[in-house]
C-alpha cells in the first residue's frame, strides 16, 4: 500500500460526452512519441463496445482467490483503431481529401448509438475512463520485470520506463485495458494521473478541463475532500467493475437521470427509467442500489426543502473547490527525498489535509526561496 491514495470521482449524471477531457489529455501527453493511438482518457457510450473494443471481455484482473487472470492484448487495427491521417496537401493541390487508412474502428466508434427500441426505451450514457490507479493493480502483478509501481506518496501507478522491456504482460493483466504498448520506445505507457501537474498545483488535464464539471480529485484520507465525502461518507461514488479485484481508485457517481419510457401508444410510463438496473449493477456492483437510493432521496429533499449537502457537493458551486491537491504534502515529500520542491504554478487548487488555504500567500514568497536553492 502506498502511504496515501489520490482518487478521482466522476459524476455520470453530469457527463455530457463532449470529450474535452479526451482531447485535453491528448494534447497534454499522447499526441506524440508513439502514443498517437493511445487514449489515456477516453469516453465511451454505454451500452456499446467501448474502447478498446469489448475491453470487458479481454480478461486480466484477479479471481476471487486473488489469482491473476489471463488476458488478451488488443489489436491496433481492430480493437484500438489506427490513428489515421489525411492528405492535407490535396486541399491545395487538387485531388480528393481522404484518410490514409480506411477507418474501420476508432475510440469513439459507437458514439450516441445506445440500445433499445426508439423511442420507447432506448437509452445511453457516457462512461469516461482513465487508469484506475488501482490499489491492487493487475498490470503491476502481471509485470515479469517488476517494472510497474505505485508511487509511495500518492498511489499513482507508473511504468518504470527505465526498466520496462516491453513484454506487454501488463496489458493482458489490466482488466480495464488502460495500459498501452508504445511501439516507438518498445515500452508500456499509461495514464499518469498528471502527477507532474498535480505536484505543481494543477489538477489532471482531464479533470481540471472538464467543462461538465464532473470530476473531483483529492486524497481519500482527506476528510474535507469531496472524494472522501462522496466515496466514504455518502457512498454514492463506486468503483467500476470492482469484481475484477484490482480495487480501482477512480469512482463513479452512477447515472440516475433518464427520461421516462413510452408505451406502444406513445404514452409516458410514469415513474419508469430507461437505465436498466441490471446493467448498472454489472458496472458498479450491488452497492449501486444504495447509491441510487441515496441520490434519489437527496434530490427529492433538495427539491422539497432546498437543502442537501450532497447536492451542494455534486453541484460544485466553485470549480476550484472540486480539487484538493495538498501541495504542502508534495513539497514535504520532495524535500524528504532530498530533492527540491517544485513551486506551484497555480495556487487555486492546492488546499488539502496538510495545506491550509492560508498557505497561498506563503507559496508566493516561498517560490523565490526554492529557485535560489535550486541554483545552488
Amino acid at each position: 500500500m502506498s502511504k496515501r491514495q489520490l482518487a478521482m470521482v466522476i459524476d455520470l449524471n453530469k457527463c455530457i460526452g463532449c470529450q474535452t477531457c479526451t482531447v485535453a489529455c491528448k494534447t497534454q501527453w499522447t499526441n506524440r512519441n508513439g502514443r498517437e493511438y493511445m487514449y489515456w482518457n477516453n469516453v465511451e457510450t454505454y451500452p456499446g463496445t467501448g474502447y478498446p473494443k469489448n475491453w470487458m471481455e479481454l480478461g486480466g484482473g484477479f479471481d476471487t482467490a486473488g489469482d491473476l487472470q489471463p488476458g488478451i492484448i488488443p489489436n491496433l487495427e481492430t480493437d484500438y483503431g489506427v490513428p489515421w491521417d489525411y492528405n492535407y496537401d490535396a486541399l491545395l493541390h487538387g485531388g480528393s481529401f481522404e484518410p490514409n487508412v480506411e477507418p474501420t474502428w476508432g475510440p469513439n466508434w459507437d458514439e450516441d448509438e445506445g440500445a433499445g427500441v426508439f423511442p420507447q426505451d432506448n437509452y445511453f450514457f457516457y462512461l469516461p475512463r482513465i487508469c484506475n490507479h488501482c490499489t491492487n493493480p493487475g498490470c503491476l502483478s502481471a509485470c515479469p520485470r517488476d517494472a510497474i509501481f505505485k508511487r509511495e506518496e500518492d498511489g499513482v501507478v507508473l511504468v518504470d520506463l527505465d526498466r520496462c522491456q516491453g513484454y506487454r504482460y501488463c496489458i493482458a493483466g489490466c482488466p480495464y485495458k488502460k495500459i498501452y504498448f508504445n511501439p516507438k520506445i518498445s515500452k508500456s505507457e499509461k495514464c499518469i494521473l498528471c502527477f507532474p501537474r498535480i505536484e505543481q498545483g494543477l489538477p489532471p488535464a482531464c479533470a481540471q478541463q472538464c467543462v461538465g464539471r464532473t470530476r473531483f480529485v483529492g486524497f481519500l484520507d482527506d476528510k474535507d475532500s469531496q472524494v472522501y465525502k462522496l466515496v466514504h461518507e455518502y457512498k454514492v461514488a463506486l468503483g467500476l467493475r470492482t469484481d475484477y479485484g484490482t480495487q480501482p481508485n477512480v469512482y463513479y457517481v452512477p447515472p440516475t437521470e433518464s427520461p421516462a419510457k413510452f408505451d406502444a401508444n406513445g404514452k409516458i410510463i410514469e415513474g419508469s427509467t430507461r437505465l436498466p438496473i441490471g446493467e448498472l449493477e454489472k458496472l458498479f456492483g450491488e452497492n449501486v442500489h444504495h447509491a441510487i437510493r441515496t441520490l434519489r432521496s437527496e434530490m427529492k429533499k433538495r427539491q422539497e426543502t432546498g437543502e442537501s449537502e450532497l447536492m451542494d457537493l455534486l453541484i460544485a458551486y466553485q470549480h476550484q473547490d472540486m480539487f484538493r491537491l495538498d501541495n504542502n504534502y508534495y513539497r514535504k515529500v520532495a524535500k524528504d527525498k532530498g530533492g527540491y520542491a517544485l513551486a506551484p504554478v497555480d495556487t487555486r487548487y492546492i488546499a488539502g489535509k496538510y495545506t491550509k488555504e492560508s498557505h497561498t500567500l506563503y507559496f508566493t514568497e516561498d517560490r523565490d526561496d526554492d529557485i535560489k536553492r535550486h541554483r545552488k
Binding site: 500500500m1 502506498s2 449524471n13 455530457i16 460526452g17 463532449c18 470529450q19 482531447v23 485535453a24 491528448k26 497534454q28 506524440r32 508513439g34 498517437e36 493511438y37 489515421w84 491521417d85 486541399l91 491545395l92 480528393s96 481529401f97 484518410p99 477507418p103 458514439e111 448509438e113 426508439f118 445511453f124 517488476d146 509501481f149 505505485k150 508511487r151 507508473l158 518504470d160 527505465d162 526498466r163 511501439p183 516507438k184 520506445i185 498528471c194 501537474r197 481540471q208 478541463q209 467543462v211 461538465g212 464539471r213 447515472p255 437521470e257 427520461p259 421516462a260 401508444n265 406513445g266 404514452k267 409516458i268 433538495r302 455534486l314 453541484i315 460544485a316 458551486y317 470549480h319 487555486r348
Partner: protein, 967 residues
Amino acid sequence: MTKAVNSKRRNFLKLSGMTAALVASQSDLFAKTAVMSIENGKSSYPNAGYTEAMYRNEFAFTYGKKEEHGFAFHCVNCQGNCAWEVWSHNGVVTRENQSARYPAVNAKIPDFNPRGCNKGVQHSQVMYQKDRILYPMIRVGERGRGKWKRISWDAAAEKICQNIFDTMTDPDRGPEKLMVHAGTGLLSESRRGSVLRFSTQLGANRIYPSSYLGDMFSGAAIAYGEGNVGCTWDFMYNVNTAVMWGGNPSVSRIPDAHFVWEGKYNGTKVIVITPEFNATAKSADLWIPVKAGSDNILAMSVINVILEQKLFKPEFMKIYTDLTFLVDVETRKLIRRCDIEHAQNEEERHKYEEEFYSWNEAKKEPAVMPGTKGSSVHSLRLGEHGIRPALEGTYEMVDVYGNERTVTTVFEMLKKSAADFSPEATKEITGVHPDTVVQLAKDIALPKVVEITTGFSLNKYFNGIMTIWNIASICGLTGRMGPYGGLNTENEFTLSGLEALSGFNGKYAPRFGSGFVSEFMRGSGMDTFRRYFGDEDVRRAQNGMSKDEYITVVEELLVAGRNGEVNNESEHGSVAKPWWLPTTALIVADSTFRRNKGSEYRRAFLNRMDFYAYVDYRMSEAAQFADVLLPAKSHYEVYDLRTSPGYHRFTNLAQPVANIKNIGEAMDEWSMFTFLAKKLEEIANRPENIGKAKVKDDKRYAKPGYHDLTIFHQEYTNTDKESRANGEARLGTDKMAVEAALENCEQYEPWTMEKMYKAGGFLQINEKAAKSSPLYSDRPYSSMEYHLYRFEPLDTLSGRQTFYVDHDIYIRMGAATNTGMEGIRPNNREYPYVLMTPHARWSIHSNYKSSRTLLRLQRGVPAVALNRVVAEKKGIKDGDTIRVFNSLGEFYAMAKLSSSSPADGLVMEHGWEPYMYKFNKGHNEVVPVSLNLLEMADGWGHLKFGALWDGNQYAYDGAVNYEKASV
C-alpha cells in the same frame, strides 16, 4: 505488401518537429539499468525518479514559462466565447488550458469555469496542421483545380486592389457590384471590425450571417421586436422547468450545459423536445420525440391546452400583450386610429397608423391604447388612463367614413385559431401523445420560473418562424418574462462605442443585403425551387396557395428588393428584402460553398463572379475556388476581444504568447486590410486613375455622395484630416484596435489589456451592458425586466408582445395570429426520410471539421446515424457506405446504426466540407432552397428589413431515401 505495412507504420509513428526535439533531448530514454531487486512495487519502488523526471520534463516542456503564456478565445460561430490560457515553448504554442478564473457571480450559483469545449481545446493542434494557408497565392489554372503560384503580399494586394478600383470606378458597376464580407469564422468585436470597416468605407455589399445561416430568430422578432431574448446561462440553474425545444445543449452549448444538469440537482425539471434522442435527452426528466418539423403544431397544441384549461394569466396579457387589441372581424385588419379619426396632417396620420384600440370595460367604449409606436405615451401603464381592457367579446365601432365595423379582440382571434389544434387533433402529425401535450402545458404554465430555450434547428425548417413565434406566445400567455423566465433564444448585451472600429461616425453606412434572399439569388435558387417542389408542397406550406401563384408573388417581392431600390424610395423604413449580385468579391472566413444549400450554388456564384479573393487561415471549400488567397493569422496569433453574444458577462482577450513564431506569412486582419487600404490609395493616386477616384454613391451609404479613394488609407486608419481633428483612435494593427475598443466601449470601463491579462484573459463588463433588464452584480441576467416592472414599451408596433400581424401576406397565409402549418418538405413514399443536420459536437460549422485530432474521435469520414431497425431491413450494416439521394442529387456517407435515430429520419452533424465526401458531393446536394412568404413580408410595423428582421435559409426541407452504396 510489406512495403504498404511499413508505410502505414511510418505514418503511425509520425512525429511533429516539436516532438522530435523533445525526444532528442531525452536520449537516455532508451537506457537500461542493471538488475534491481523490487520488494513490493505497490508500496515502495527504488527507481521511481527516472520515470518521474521524464514526465515532469515533458510537462515542463508543454507548460513553458508562465509569464510567456498568451490568452485567447476562439472567435468562431459557436458563440461560446471562452477564456483560454495558451501555453508555449520558445514561441511555439504547445497546448491550451482553460483560464478558469471567471469570478463567481453568486456563491450559491455555479460559476462559469472552466469554460471551453473539445474543439477549443485542440486549436493548438489545428494551427500547425497542414491545411494552413501559409502564403499569398494566385490561381494559375482553372478555378478549383488546385493550381497555384506563391506571390508576394505586395503583388497580391496589387491584384486585389486593382480589381476593387476597377469595379468601383466602372460606371456600369460601382460599389453595388462589390462584395466585401466577413463570415462567421471571424466573430469578434475587434478583429472582425477590420473587414467591416473596409467594406463600409467602400460602400460594398455584405449580408447578415444569422439570416443566411438559418440562425435568425425571426419568430422572436415578431413577438418582441427583438430576436435576441433570454438569459445568461447561469439563470438556468434556478429555474423550475427548463425546456430545450429543438436544442441539445450538451452537444452544441457545451460550455454552458453544466448549468442545466446542476440545475437538475437543484430541482429543475428538464424537458427536451427533439425528433432524435441525444446527449441532452438522455438525462432529461421528459423527452418528447416530436416528428421533425412539426414543432410549430405541437406549440399550437400547447396553446390549445393553455386556453382550454385556462392556464393563462389574464392580467399579464392585458398589460404586456396585444391580445386585447381590436380587429375587424371581416377584414381581419387591426383597427388603427386612422380608421376611426381624421388626422390633421401627414405626420399625425402616420402616428395614427401606429395607434390601436382595446375595448375599455370601465367605460364600455373603445380606448386608444398607450405605449404603441404611434402613441405619445411611452408607457404601458393603463391605470392612469382609466383603461380596463377586455380580453374577450365582440363589439361595434364606427369608422371615419361612418361605417359600422364589427370588431373583436386578438385574443378571440387566437382562440379561434388554436381551436383546431387540440392534442387529439395534432397527435397524428406531431407524433406526441395527448397526455404528454397536457403535461408539457402544465409544466410550462404552472411553476414559478420556466425557461424555454429554442435550439437553432427550429429555424432550419421552412415554417420555423411559426415555431418560435408560437413558443413566444406560449410564454406570453403564461406571463413568462424577466425573473419568471420565458423564451431564451440567445441573450445579447449592449456594447456601445465599438462603431469607432468599424464605423465612420455616419460618414459611410454599410450596404446590407438580405442574407437568405441574397444567397437564394446568387445561387439561382428559383431554378432549384421550381425543379424540386410540387404544387401540393407549396399549397400545404403556404395556406393553399398554388405553386404558380406563389412564384408570382415571390418574384414580385424579389423585384422590389433588387439593388435596394424600392427601400431607397421608402419614407418609413424598408419595405422589401434588398439584394445585390456582386461581380467582385473579397470574402473572409466564410465557407460559402459548404454552407449554401442546393447543388447549384457554387456554379451559379462562380459564373457571376469576375474576381474573387478569399482570406482565411485554412483551406476551406471557399478557399479552393478563389482567384487569390490571403493567409490570415488564427486565434492564438492575434490581439482581439470578444463579448458577444451574452451567454455570460465576460469579455475575453486574445493576446499571443511571448515571441510567437509566425506561421508562414500569415497576417492579422487589421494589418492585412490596412495594407490593402494603402495599396488601394496608391492605385487611386496614380496619374491615370486620380481623375476617377472619387466614386459616386447614394447618400444612404456615403454621406458626402462619394467615396474618396485617394485618401482611402488615411480614412481607414483615422489619419485623415477630419478624423485627426475629431480625435479618432488611430487604427492599423490588431493591437491598436483592441486598445481603441477598450478606450471607446463604456461597458469595458475601467479595464485595460494589462489588467485583463493579469485577471486571466478577460474582463467583466459593467452594469451599462444591461439591455432590457438590469445587470445585477449577484444575479444571472434575464431580459425584459424593464418592460415588466417599469412598463417600458417593447420595440414592437404595439409596444407589447405581438400576437397579431395584419400584414396582407400574413392574413393571406392564415397566419395573422399564431397558427400551425405543415412544412414544405415533400411528403411521399419514394423519399420517406427527413435529413436532419444539426449543429455539431465535433465542429463549429466547418471550423475544425478537418481536424485530425477530432476526426479520429469520429468515424474519420462523414457519417449518418440511421435508425437501426430501418437500416437493417434495408440490409445495411454499421460501417457500410450508403448513398443518400433524392431528385436533386446524392451524397455518400458511412452508416452508423443507432438506437437514437427516429425511423423516419437521418441524423448527421452538419458542417462537413464537400471535399470530405466521396466525389466531392456534400450533403447540401439533396437540400432544396425556398423562401417562406412570412419571412419575405416586409414594411410592417417592426417587421422592416434590418439586423432584426431578415429571414432564414432553411436546411431540413429535403426528403430523401438511402441505400447501400456500390462504390
